[in-house]
Symmetry: C2
Subunit: 276 residues, 2 copies
Amino acid sequence: MLKKDESIAKRNSRAIRADIRAGRIAHQTSGMAAGFAQGNLVILPKFWAADFLRFCQANPKPCPLLAVGKPGDPGLPSLGAGIDIRLDVPSYRIFREGRLVEETPDITAHWRPDFVSFVIGCSFSFEWALQNAGIAVRHIDLGRNVPMFRTNIDCLPAGRFSGKLVVSMRPMKPLAAIRAIEITSRMPQVHGAPVHFGDPSAIGIEDLARPDYGDAVPVHEGEIPLFWACGVTPQVALAEAKPPIAITHSPGCMLITDIREEDLLNGRFQFEPASV
Amino acid sequence: MLKKDESIAKRNSRAIRADIRAGRIAHQTSGMAAGFAQGNLVILPKFWAADFLRFCQANPKPCPLLAVGKPGDPGLPSLGAGIDIRLDVPSYRIFREGRLVEETPDITAHWRPDFVSFVIGCSFSFEWALQNAGIAVRHIDLGRNVPMFRTNIDCLPAGRFSGKLVVSMRPMKPLAAIRAIEITSRMPQVHGAPVHFGDPSAIGIEDLARPDYGDAVPVHEGEIPLFWACGVTPQVALAEAKPPIAITHSPGCMLITDIREEDLLNGRFQFEPASV
């Protein structure tokens, strides 16, 4: 089994996907294939997929779509030649009626001709851009998961999908915060600019020291908390909608795409939705 | 004499400049030729101009150059066909050794073959973009001048030019502030993104109710003050450097250019410096 290390950061997305498909990587993908975007995965039957697509399009900050597959087709050619979404994620979670029933490295046996794959942009990409710009990201420096909070902001509902917006928090001084807003506003495909900064109670967050998901990080004197829409939002909506079957990646075990994060920053990656 | 009114907002930059040149407009230009960028003017002898150009290039946020003229040439073709900088600004101020000695609508008699014109971007352009995006600008809504403050931040000196950064302040709620940062970061030729937000004392401002220039505006509950680099900065540096002669526009009496503010927002206006 390969472990996350320097060499794995330097290898490209295709090489890492080949190792994942061969079962040589079955753990979380953070730090792998540096410079290539990773994506959150949601797979739903076509009957549910149309509402979920509308939900994502109505709520692009928490659910920025990088790609939508054709029904029954495990390929996602706009994200990488040869991707087979049944094999190319290190670990999958299978939910029935909203309940986790199985965790598996291969969903070939579960695949159905009506399955539609959704790949949603991930904050790893904008954290890459922030760090490239010399902006420290607290939870990364502390080796923790990002702190995430359920807000009092309602997503726009679509069919059976609805729920509160979940945000991730990164504390910064004002000048770094301004730069971070500049940079992330140029990356709408990976959550874009923050949705709020400053007073947490203005969006229904009671205590920054007690995140609903992930780990707490300190906010130092002179720093302001910045809140970005978070990819956990669609997962919460999914859990509440309780479709008969849904498949997602296991936490941190993302799809590694051939999209260069630099292309997300410079607007050169164009999403073209396939018909659902 | 023409007055500022609806019809003057709708007329284009060339028509307004023709009226200014003919002496039919001799007052401030705010609101005129809507959608066309206005610029701050500084004219210096060539001996001083090289240092001033370096000062502007070292401090692009307070001194974003839209154009630099050729020595002795009153034309600024990149800003508008037929511009004669000796005639096309409603009112000029002439400074000797840093002291205001004359205010005049025509500097033809003062023009010298070694004079170099600098046109510096103006916050009118980004306020236009903010309002187009539905973001209220407090001082405009109140019919006041923007509040401006001298900070404790040193500009990078260049030759005899140095001084503290002057900022303008606009209060906003967090979501509008994020949008305003996004929008102004795309307009580096008109001061770009804010240099600070939040605690005024962090940049040496003691009391928001007592601006050093312009008028105070209220900051309401839930709002954050945002601070942008201000075009008064080069004027302060100029006053402190005390060149034997310098000519500027009179406050609010700007050069109206043919640059579309939309082109500043979309990065289609490219500054090409002439040799000084």
